[in-house]
Symmetry: C2
Subunit: 119 residues, 2 copies
């Protein structure tokens, strides 16, 4: 997969976000097993330590838990996952509106431009 590690923010932060997206979008279903730390790290082209840090964040968020040698599992709690999905959506909506407002676009204009696709 394409990990898209572009902007200047810490890599482990971006990795955590990416993993979170994979979970809330269902590509890593509830209760499923995540790839091993070393495997994920190689796939993303980062140091295992960096990936470990990202995964630690996922655990802190309650999205995953590790069973030591049995690997790491996505939480079975769909409420946690869905809540996270909705919260992220709300965050993106707010950020979009704020960004557009700072450019001088009203909320109505911001919504209208979305419908047009671009311009």
């Amino acid at each position: 997969m394409d990990w898209n590690l572009d902007d200047g923010r810490p890599i482990w932060t971006q990795l955590a976000e990416q993993l979170t997206r994979l979970i809330v979008s269902g590509e890593y279903p509830p209760g499923s097993r995540l790839p091993a730390v070393r495997e994920l790290a190689e796939d993303a082209g980062v140091n295992p330590n960096t990936m470990q840090r990202a995964l630690a964040q996922l655990e802190a968020d309650g999205l995953a838990a590790s069973n030591r040698t049995a690997g790491r599992m996505v939480t079975e709690d769909r409420v946690v996952i869905d809540t996270r999905r909705r919260d992220l959506a709300k965050k993106h909506i707010a950020e979009y509106l704020t960004a557009m407002a700072q450019l001088g676009y009203s909320a109505a204009e911001a919504a209208e431009l979305l419908r047009e696709g671009e311009k």
Copy 2:
């Protein structure tokens, strides 16, 4: 003013973005004089070197130019400014749609949620 230096990205990047917003939104009109580097730095609570770096970016973008001791002026070229404003808007639109798509929301849903405000 509130500079909102929050996320983990380099501060000079965020400063440049903030200054750009002030210009494209018209708070720093075309041809007007920008505050001195040291003044801006103090206001933002950052080192003058860091603010200088942000301003260098603005010049590279053609949004401002320095007249040595006469201070630094916003470009008079309204086309440059307006183009930049539109490009930033397009970027935010694309980013919003991408972010929502990664969460599993269609473009229609993303637009709908905007209209509802939240949920």
